[in-house]
């Protein structure tokens, strides 16, 4: 079985990076809307969200359960699924932290963009392992044109 991957439309990648730059030095966050296929999933649209962590937005983000339900509804209205989340790491690597792992859900894809001094750098994607012990990297395949997952 091939390694799971995430197909990210180039426009979506640019929007994630732009969101991270816009909110710098605070963390941005948002929902990934797309389609889950066999061994890969495609991110077709984004739903940028407000970071609810007012007390520590430089190194924390939070999406409330109300926002999650709103994102699920938005996905359904577009006949898509809520397949994951993105957030930025201001002045930090695009790698999941221990805090990320402790708070992660399985199945979702977690895209992280690192923003150094206001400029977007690496963008990576991760998925929590079944035993919650680690994250597996999910290679990002960027496409300029829509693809179709069955």
């Amino acid at each position: 079985m091939s390694q799971p991957r995430v197909i990210l439309r180039a426009g979506a990648l640019r929007r994630i990076q732009a969101h991270g730059v816009e909110t710098y030095p605070y963390e941005c966050c948002g929902a990934l809307l797309g389609k889950d296929g066999d061994g890969s999933r495609e991110v077709i649209d984004l739903l940028p969200l407000q970071n609810r962590r007012d007390d520590s937005p430089r190194n924390r983000f939070e999406v409330t359960s109300d926002d999650v339900r709103m994102a699920e509804k938005a996905a359904r209205e577009k006949q898509l699924e809520l397949v994951g989340w993105y957030h930025s790491h201001p002045d930090a690597p695009a790698r999941p932290s221990e805090y990320d792992r402790n708070h992660a859900w399985p199945w979702y894809s977690y895209v992280i963009v690192s923003v150094h001094k206001g400029v977007a750098h690496d963008t990576t994607c991760w998925r929590l392992t079944d035993d919650r012990a680690a994250y597996d990297p999910e290679p990002i395949e960027t496409v300029e044109h829509p693809t179709s997952i069955q």
Binding site: E27, C29, R53, S56, R58, N59, R60, F61, E62, V63, T64, S65, D67, V68, R69, E81, L82, W85, H87, H89, P90, D91, A92, P96, S97, Y99, D100, H103, A104, W105, P106, W107, Y108, Y110, D130, D131, R132
Partner: protein, 93 residues
């Protein structure tokens, strides 16, 4: 009393790929216990090692957040729907 527990998408793989599970319970705690007894792999994603609901696991009874009711001691009656809804958190360090 039979109540329906809605399983969120990220946890369905641990619940026989079902969107919902029907269990017999009189409280939310009993319902969650029944679900995790039936699907043991769900437990580590819902509860921390000390047996408490993880902070990012939210539970609603018919659209009412149990934190504004009696938490996991909230009573349920036949036909009620219990929804498990994620909240999402993380951060750089």
């Amino acid at each position: 009393m039979a109540v329906k527990v809605i399983i969120p998408t990220p946890l369905r793989a641990y619940a026989g790929k079902q969107e919902s599970v029907e269990v017999q319970a009189a409280t939310v705690a009993e319902a969650l216990s029944a679900v995790t007894s039936k699907f043991a792999d769900l437990k580590k994603h819902l509860f921390s090692e000390d047996g408490r609901l993880r902070s990012f696991v939210n539970v609603y009874v018919n659209d009412e957040d149990i934190r504004y009711l009696q938490n996991d001691q909230t009573s349920v009656k036949a036909g009620d729907t219990i929804s498990i809804v994620p909240s999402i958190a993380g951060g750089a360090c």
